[in-house]
Symmetry: C2
Subunit: 113 residues, 2 copies
Amino acid sequence: MVQEYKAEGTDFQGITRQELTGIFGERTNFNLRYFEIQPGGYSSLERHVHEHVIIGARGKGILINEDREIPIAVHDVAYIAPQRKHQLRNHGSEPFGFYCIVDHERDQPVRAI
Amino acid sequence: MVQEYKAEGTDFQGITRQELTGIFGERTNFNLRYFEIQPGGYSSLERHVHEHVIIGARGKGILINEDREIPIAVHDVAYIAPQRKHQLRNHGSEPFGFYCIVDHERDQPVRAI
């Protein structure tokens, strides 16, 4: 089911979320989600203790990781360490899709500046 | 780094493993691996308590899950519940690649019959 990225907020644009595994009765210590960002869109710029693992699935995007801009293409795998300020952006002309794996039990993101 | 699927055994064929995240200093509760099976190849037929989440990445394959044969294509996501007898096979003519996510702490697989 395609969902809104977050229930509320104005610090993101053109992004949807799909929960794939981890909240439907599985007992895994991780959740798998799929996000898709439309051209010109972006996720929240945020920090948290929990780590992200991202796998490029469709199109191309940019991962902002602190002061670095890292291109993400299909099959690229990226790791985001604890408390790193990060954001995903789509500067391209096609949708940018990526899988994101997180720990099932995790802290809430905090908006970064 | 492309590795052997397992250090020893004769119950698999034409399959390689790449550890992607989870064993290089990350503190995630999960490991991400990539497996590739050559045409005619297959993984061990096995059972274990820990669960698998699989994402099709390249080519096509078959997931044996107890008595079911489930086709896996690119972007298909499959969940394998605890203690299910399972195996991945490539009956096609091109390599079959898939991501597999598991809990970082997990039990050893047991060969199934």
